[in-house]
């Protein structure tokens, strides 16, 4: 192993850059619309890219890092959307204070979703794989029909009169927070435990991994951020109904996860961005785009079954110590190559 000190300059150079870039991005997301540089249409697309990034990276935690096949992500999203909307419409005050209390509503929606995530995690102690996929499907159907029959939130007609509180800076901030939290989790012993469960649950347990804790953690964090995305969407569209959170919505998220690549946050960012932008760009094709997108998926599964980034990661998404190790390993290879 070469000494990490050798790489200190380049590393320090990059270390300061990422926070600066993020701060710059956040400022831009506020200032550009403020000065009218970004058209409302572009803002709209950016907001849906951000919401999709949150959904995709959180689903990747369960489907990619833990290797389960959850199709219930839209259900968690629905719980977050309705939870946040009910809170902001019925409990929190309207008017000047609303934008400041908005994060509270989003977090509450996320927590409600995380609670249900824990329930699904409990079920995952006993079932795995295909059978757990069926359980998540059942969960999604239960959430949807419960909402359809719950008159206090408008039933099948939907929930109206939500204040427009979701702005581009909020979406950027929540997307960054999601990536940051999941990245820190994945590159810790908790994340390694989750991945060990994916590769071999029995071996993991026999290596000292508390597999139940790993499952609860993965499902609750994943569903929390699905709930956050739901809350953001509700306060963006100002109207939600149960049909928005059906199996098709879950399928969209699955496509983005597998397009970008399982077990990779960089993949999730790419997958969500490409899919959202492509759907928008292909809009002139009308109904044909809905044939083109699945075709793309088929080709992807044939030629790159693990997605664009499958199990790999951009080095700027790695924590500092892992990045150092990777650079050291890469330079070792260089030296070997020259020698």
């Amino acid at each position: 192993m070469s000494t990490p000190k050798l790489h200190a300059p380049s590393h320090r150079h990059r270390k300061g850059m990422l926070p600066a870039l993020l701060a710059g991005g956040l400022a831009a997301s506020y200032l550009l619309p403020y000065f009218g540089v970004l058209s409302p249409y572009v803002q709209l697309i950016l907001i849906s890219v951000g919401v999709n990034i949150i959904l995709t990276s959180s689903l990747n935690l369960v489907n990619g890092y833990m290797g389960e096949f959850s199709v219930g992500h839209a259900g968690f999203m629905a719980v977050g959307a309705y939870g946040a909307a009910v809170l902001s419409v019925n409990v929190l005050p309207y008017g000047a204070a609303a934008p400041w209390l908005f994060p509270l509503a989003i977090v509450a929606g996320g927590l409600a979703a995380a609670l249900l995530g824990c329930v699904v995690a409990l079920l995952s102690f006993k079932t795995r794989g295909d059978y757990l996929a069926i359980v998540t499907l059942a969960f999604l159907m239960i959430v949807k029909s419960t909402l359809e029959n719950l008159d206090v939130v408008g039933g099948a007609r939907g929930f109206l009169g939500i204040e427009k509180l979701t702005t581009l800076p909020w979406v950027v901030a929540w997307s960054v927070a999601t990536i940051w939290v999941i990245r820190n989790l994945v590159h810790s012993r908790y994340g390694r435990d989750i991945q060990a469960v994916r590769d071999d649950e029995i071996a993991a347990n026999q290596t000292g991994v508390d597999t139940r804790r790993a499952k609860v953690l993965a499902f609750s964090v994943s569903s929390f951020f699905a709930g956050v995305a739901g809350g953001l969407l509700a306060h963006h569209l100002q109207f939600i109904n149960p049909r928005m959170f059906d199996i098709a919505k879950s399928t969209d998220m699955l496509v983005m996860v597998y397009l970008g690549g399982i077990g990779s946050l960089g993949g999730s960012i790419l997958g969500a961005t490409i899919y959202t932008l492509l759907l928008e760009a292909l809009r002139p094709l009308g109904a044909f785009r809905m044939m083109l997108m699945p075709l793309m998926l088929v080709l992807l599964m044939l030629f790159r079954p693990r997605g664009i980034m499958g199990m790999r990661e951009f080095s700027w998404l790695l924590p500092a110590c892992d990045r150092d190790a990777r650079e050291a390993a890469a330079s070792d290879v260089d030296k070997d190559g020259k020698a």
Partner: protein, 256 residues
């Protein structure tokens, strides 16, 4: 000193008695071999000790406390580690991360430390990485540190599994057919490696093995199982000529 004492351990799968009335005392530092024909209940015995199965009857006293009914990950934390008959690595993880998962058993940071990247998290992670790297160097696996475990050749996968088990810092190491699938040269190297492991890490070892050469050279004491019951116990020399053992392996002698 007695590290492990198993008393009257019995396990039934439905009507089948996989292990019946198993008793043993293992002293610290010992290397005990468990042999027996296929289906004799050897792996079931390991699964009972490590908590995969919960024993129908009996007690597994490890350093004085009963392991029966404890969760597998707790048993690992107490100091029992194992390898598997058919290698079970974390295939998609890197060789280094395979060891880090095991090393993480003793990591002293919580979820909040990790989420907020607090100093304690950084400190523990870097020391854990260093320890794991040293272990890989010890097992001559360091050049594969960043390789996915599934890409390792078979012999090295066996070695990695042993390194992973040692990373949990076990007092008792259970090896389930460590020589399975290895050629003669590799078995010799494994024997050398095991001797070094005993000297350096000083674990107590129970090992299941079919390779008689391996067992006869490595073990001080043997226990022979057949159909879940102990049929013989003693030094390798005594076992070799025990008529009951010969019968279990080769069948009864019939008059011509």
């Amino acid at each position: 000193m007695c590290l492990l004492e198993i008393q009257g351990l019995t396990h039934r799968f439905g009507g089948l008695c996989a292990v019946s009335d198993f008793n043993i005392k293992v002293t610290e530092g010992e290397l005990l071999g468990v042999i027996g024909p296929n289906g004799a209940g050897k792996t079931t015995l390991f699964n009972l000790i490590t908590g995969v199965y919960r024993a129908s009857e009996g007690a597994v006293l490890f350093r004085g406390s009963d392991l029966v009914g404890r969760a597998p990950h707790e048993i690992v934390k107490l100091g029992v580690a194992r390898t598997f008959q058919n290698i079970r690595l974390f295939k998609e993880l890197s060789v280094l991360d395979n060891v880090r998962v095991a090393d993480g058993v003793h990591a002293g940071y919580g979820a909040m430390d990790a989420l907020l990247q607090l100093p304690r998290f950084r400190r523990e992670e870097s020391s854990g990485r260093e320890r794991s790297m040293q272990l890989l160097e010890r097992f001559q696996l360091d050049e594969y540190a960043n390789t996915q475990a599934r890409h390792l050749p078979y012999g090295l996968q066996r070695r990695l599994e042993l390194a992973r088990a040692l990373a949990t810092r076990p007092k008792l190491l259970l090896l389930d057919e460590p020589a399975a699938g290895l050629n003669v040269g590799e078995v010799d190297r494994l024997m050398d490696l095991l001797r070094e492991v005993r000297e350096e890490f000083r674990p107590t070892i129970i090992l299941i093995e079919h390779s008689m050469r391996f067992v006869m050279r490595m073990c001080e004491r043997l226990k022979v199982l057949d159909f879940g019951t102990t049929i013989a116990e003693g030094t390798p020399e005594a076992i070799r000529s025990d008529p009951k053992v010969l019968e279990a392996y080769l069948g009864e002698e019939t008059p011509r």
